[in-house]
Symmetry: D3
Subunit: 322 residues, 6 copies
Amino acid sequence: MTLKKGGLTRAVESEGSWQLDRIVTELRDIRARWRGAQQRQTECGAREFPSRDALRDIAEALCAALFPMRLGPSDLHQESEDFFIGYTLDAALNGLLHQVRLELRYDARRANTPQTEVDALARAIVAEFALALPELRALLDTDVLAAYQGDPAARSVDEVLLCYPGVIAVIHHRIAHRLYALGAPLVARIIAEAAHSATGIDIHPGAQIGAGFFIDHGTGVVIGETAVIGERVRLYQAVTLGAKRFPTDEEGTLQKGLPRHPVVEDDVVIYAGATILGRVTIGRGSTIGGNVWLTRSVPAGSHITQASSQHTSVLPTELAAS
Amino acid sequence: MTLKKGGLTRAVESEGSWQLDRIVTELRDIRARWRGAQQRQTECGAREFPSRDALRDIAEALCAALFPMRLGPSDLHQESEDFFIGYTLDAALNGLLHQVRLELRYDARRANTPQTEVDALARAIVAEFALALPELRALLDTDVLAAYQGDPAARSVDEVLLCYPGVIAVIHHRIAHRLYALGAPLVARIIAEAAHSATGIDIHPGAQIGAGFFIDHGTGVVIGETAVIGERVRLYQAVTLGAKRFPTDEEGTLQKGLPRHPVVEDDVVIYAGATILGRVTIGRGSTIGGNVWLTRSVPAGSHITQASSQHTSVLPTELAAS
Amino acid sequence: MTLKKGGLTRAVESEGSWQLDRIVTELRDIRARWRGAQQRQTECGAREFPSRDALRDIAEALCAALFPMRLGPSDLHQESEDFFIGYTLDAALNGLLHQVRLELRYDARRANTPQTEVDALARAIVAEFALALPELRALLDTDVLAAYQGDPAARSVDEVLLCYPGVIAVIHHRIAHRLYALGAPLVARIIAEAAHSATGIDIHPGAQIGAGFFIDHGTGVVIGETAVIGERVRLYQAVTLGAKRFPTDEEGTLQKGLPRHPVVEDDVVIYAGATILGRVTIGRGSTIGGNVWLTRSVPAGSHITQASSQHTSVLPTELAAS
Amino acid sequence: MTLKKGGLTRAVESEGSWQLDRIVTELRDIRARWRGAQQRQTECGAREFPSRDALRDIAEALCAALFPMRLGPSDLHQESEDFFIGYTLDAALNGLLHQVRLELRYDARRANTPQTEVDALARAIVAEFALALPELRALLDTDVLAAYQGDPAARSVDEVLLCYPGVIAVIHHRIAHRLYALGAPLVARIIAEAAHSATGIDIHPGAQIGAGFFIDHGTGVVIGETAVIGERVRLYQAVTLGAKRFPTDEEGTLQKGLPRHPVVEDDVVIYAGATILGRVTIGRGSTIGGNVWLTRSVPAGSHITQASSQHTSVLPTELAAS
Amino acid sequence: MTLKKGGLTRAVESEGSWQLDRIVTELRDIRARWRGAQQRQTECGAREFPSRDALRDIAEALCAALFPMRLGPSDLHQESEDFFIGYTLDAALNGLLHQVRLELRYDARRANTPQTEVDALARAIVAEFALALPELRALLDTDVLAAYQGDPAARSVDEVLLCYPGVIAVIHHRIAHRLYALGAPLVARIIAEAAHSATGIDIHPGAQIGAGFFIDHGTGVVIGETAVIGERVRLYQAVTLGAKRFPTDEEGTLQKGLPRHPVVEDDVVIYAGATILGRVTIGRGSTIGGNVWLTRSVPAGSHITQASSQHTSVLPTELAAS
Amino acid sequence: MTLKKGGLTRAVESEGSWQLDRIVTELRDIRARWRGAQQRQTECGAREFPSRDALRDIAEALCAALFPMRLGPSDLHQESEDFFIGYTLDAALNGLLHQVRLELRYDARRANTPQTEVDALARAIVAEFALALPELRALLDTDVLAAYQGDPAARSVDEVLLCYPGVIAVIHHRIAHRLYALGAPLVARIIAEAAHSATGIDIHPGAQIGAGFFIDHGTGVVIGETAVIGERVRLYQAVTLGAKRFPTDEEGTLQKGLPRHPVVEDDVVIYAGATILGRVTIGRGSTIGGNVWLTRSVPAGSHITQASSQHTSVLPTELAAS
């Protein structure tokens, strides 16, 4: 064994210590430089930002409250179902209130909004979200049913709820989307990313998705912020509903918030690996084949396959991004 | 900062409370509706369904018992290897027995099978599974070796066992497949999904896979329920071995259980992103290139690349799904 | 319910026991066979291999020390930032020292290197790594900024740090790459796989990546060991920077360590699903379109789309692998 | 440093191993001997005995359900108090049911009672216990009030509930006593010992204690199985209400269950270190001084001090034990 | 086995349910009655009281910060000692601030003090406490030394710090006493009770104790609120320094805060089981024998034994309590 | 509410910071002073001392291995009893080896013993201890039987093992005593203190105790280092077997290791609160009454009560300590 000593020059000085003082000092200088460059006010002492771990736990608690006998604790009995839901919701909503408050305060610091106003808004957002939970559960029931009916291999709605990553992703999305719509986009995004990490399905919380939505397998699916999806739509793994982007010779300062992702109408099926880019419309009842690359609208009832799409849509200067 | 108050109308009434009673009641009504629609007998008090968390832990314990010095606890010594295996197996098998019993009882409720019969079957399934563990370990040794030999970057079989997501996915698959074959398909599916979440590799527990199987990188791989894979097969990331599905103008009620996924014979290599759909056969020793889209059988020794596949296989009315 | 009893023959003998003695004995025999086949010296009592769990925790601690107010504990205050960093680093570096020592000893056993020499080298590697942390943080600041500027949807650098899987993957890569370069490739690989599992982004720790690197969405990205990436490069999901591999009629014994992955020069953008294979060079400022399949070099300023790439690069005998 | 090697003779043989096989075998032989001597049927596979850890947690959950805003979780809000209680009770009662069942089955094995009968009894015991919880809380309120009024240093009833070990001991006692009375004496005893370990106060679950009971400081207090304590009684640390026992020249086979501990009537105060032995009666409103040794009854309104007690009660042949 | 069914009458109605609704309702009514009786304002939603668990952890963190290499984490190195202390203190002090705030707000509610004033006071108390930590450590060093010198069996100061419950009790007392003196008596009391539970030593946080204090064995020691103990005092197990209390024919409303516990001057030794009651003074350098009962002052240099004490101090009408 | 601001003077300067730098610096100075005073070599980086938490866990694991079906995990089955024991012992013995090594190295540092010699001794001690475990279990069986026979309230040997603090204390003592005898007195002491904290029973690991030993209730029992206890001895709560100590006008340098605690011969019973001091002998078969104070030997068959003891043994100049 030849010991590679190249590159280990500085460590020789250390003699059994890590030179922590030196490292800590250098890191402090770099942080100071960074904060200076970001015009960050450093006087604020405590961490002022929502927490990934907290929001992951809150999202799990909400899932458990929505589907107590399937996603709740394994020792739950129906006699205490409502007790469990009430207690779990209270804890989850208070936790969520804290996280939403952190997000709003973070924004408000730049805007000089008074803290009491911010806190009242946070409370209103979470209270409104809480009242929407029953609708949300009713909507999710249509998704579970769609998954059950969409996959002939599914043996029961319970299996679907427990085993299908697409269902987990959709539950998280519907929670996140509601929070996004109510004015907590960062909290929503963190919840969406928790689902992304667990399922490989990346749905931006801004995407609007109708009832009876089902994603099978799911790994690699990406759905963009302004996508609009109708009812009873079904996607397979690695489908992208993304944005087109133009070459760098343009101004480069894209306008935010403009609709830039596809509109997918009711009863559309999109097979694995298909990529649909830009504000195009996939007409009601269409079927998009696997690996299809599509950057134009198609009318209702279209059946698009790889071959047909390539002849018509790929132009040399067009580039795709989600 | 302009406070968005639109959509926060209902929350105004709440005045410092979450209106939990109202939410809990509405959720109860929706659950009752759902359970009514599913003809679910609600008299059963306790949760009657296998647990994801429990099965994930059981699968990990089985991995540790199969490869004690690599996947077992870091403080394990060879002197107590057998003690560790025996104790760990006992706990894992008893846990598994409980989960299999939950699955069988769930099915039996519809079929009015007496509980003693169901419990005896659960015990027989787990006992048989336990006796199969040595074969399973022997089989997995061929997979580990295949991974080691298949990747020139691998420095040791130990590295392969610890670092390769494909190996983790295959260990879980071989466990899940055995349980599937013995009659516990739901438990098997939950174990498969645990591996899917951790590795991005989605292998249905029904898939039959021969010795010496290796998946490199792995994210996005999907292997369907009736796929049959020979010995010494190698796959790369984002490979799909899926089903073809026909347009909706057909009857719509697909027959379950029919062979609908590819047969991949011995010594085949399938490169990243290739998609193979339907009950086609990839002949022994063939090589399928990256991104290839293939819906027909190819004879032994074929070398298929993207160009060659496209000219021959993509027909306008054919649609792909796994 | 018809009880499937086929295949449950052996279990009948068990009568309420799992026959643990038999299973443990058979597993021992199989392990002995395997160890024999691997010429493994079995006299060594304890586990002699780095631990995935330990390294995942160490990597998280390093992330927290590098970005204390974002990735550190949620109750951290700026007054104790340096205290937190110093203490966390000390614990993480001592843990890392232990893991690097395990790796080096494992290698040294074959090479008969004296243990004191090995331990001194382990210490030197970790000390050098520690001293590099400030540079590493400065480099990561450019990545965070690139992510913020590269995605018009990003609202703040803080959001980028907390929500973007690509950023998590890059932090882990820069840690892993440094350890790889200093001589701890196995420890580096385990850290890289932790990020792969969490994000679906698979970057080999050997890959060289310049400042200002950004991966958006990320699921399915694969970057190979000898890839070289310039400054300000941007990738989208499912991009592969892989190796080409030649058919099996060759000798089959590939030379390790040879450059076999792409060189991507400064300011290149590669859109989702693009696959670039072999030691080709993507010239400075080029844009590679979505789903493009590319196995040749392109000059600076190229704009490659799916159509243009397919006409020129796909040859029947060429096969792709990462 | 002189290494003491005497007594280390056997270990010399071990050479880096613990000789686990030998130790395990010897331990098995000794267990077999013990089980033989205890006429223990060894065919029963699983542990058939209540669990200390489980019962400690159950007792804590019951405390939390009885005093939710003080002994419940720190993030509890009044809006979800009832939800918390309902859910916590359900989990605790189901856990308790399991433990009571273990106790009854253990007894029943000797008595050959059918298991269904035993399980029905277990359920009846726990259901009855559950219905008694409101009375129990009302009784405990008198204890809390007594503690608050009995100690001029107490600032609030909340402080009393949170800080006084005597109050913790009494809550556990009232729970344990109820279970003892309903027919689960072993489960009751385990709960009592959990309080003993935490507070140093040892109250046998059989002891009958009236409302408004208060123990100050408490370490070393022992109250025997057949003690009867009236209302508004106050004890200090190291008080013993024990049994007298007679010398060994008697038959030695004491009759179980006979009243053998003191009766303490209403409004009695017993100061620190006092020892009262045998089935004597301390008349209503009496005061027993510190360190007093008392083995005779005293009429209502007595004031007993160390001096007075010693002149009258200590006889040479009398021996004390609790 | 005869099933005791007496007393199980109510449970018969339950039929597989716990009647949770009924129990929850009855408990709510009782709580309402209690809160009414306590004139408790029920409108306050959240728990407004310090937490035992939180304070136990805070006290442990302070112990670790005071003696990092002995009571800190076992993987601590001297290089990061100061980092550890700084970070641990910051977390502990912020936690303590929260608990002190809860105490002050609880008091303030009755007194209608504005919350900002209360919060400023909480911060001042904790800041002052923090600045006192170095003195506190210096004082504790004298206690450790006293323990080491006072017990010939002690082999090192490190053993004393790790093994002696008396030392653990004194560390907690000095922390609690400081908080008591600064105006957080409830927080102080909860910390004292944590030590009481772990060691059986019950020191009221109000007690004033000089340097070089040592308690050997310790179980059953009780030291009252207004006790004053000089320097270099040594106590053994079951020593009480309590209050005398007068019979009930008095008014019954004792004046709070009056000195009512002993003054023990410098260099006194009090052996096991001794009881000293009332505002008496034990003169400098005295020795009080085991089991001595003492309710009068003794001059400096006294040697009191059981016999001598009984002749002089026990009067028929005197009763002892701490 | 009058805000007490006295004593809060220093905190005024702090202005929202804890002045951590100042506190950390002052604490460092005090530690340096202390280490200087203790002639402590500060160059040693890591903590070099056994850990209370680790030893408490090790002792619990040993208890579980000795009584697997009662003190082991609640899901243990007899089929895997030996596997559990073997694995648990291996982990516990390796953990113990580490702790014993820490103790010996700590001692060796002063004595300049070479580390290899020290480590060999540590291994020999633990190996010898391991081989003694079967004898230890056999001995403990006599204790369990004694407890069962000694308390007419005990319903089964299982109840005794699970509920009696005296039994827990004796198991820990027999473990600790063996380690003490083999040369690990500090490790032994830490284990003894773990039992002391849990049970209130303080047995020095040096005490020699014969078979069939039983302590009932137990709180406050103290047994000194050189005590010698015969077979079938029974103690009740608050019994002290201590040392006499002489007044301070002597030289003050007591000789260590001299026998200074009582010898209690076979079949002795000592009732609650009795105190026996000095190297006296309690003759075989004697009975010592409650609260007896005894500082002289008594012949076999004595019956000592409080009255008889006081007339004969208390001399004015005699002082008691354990």
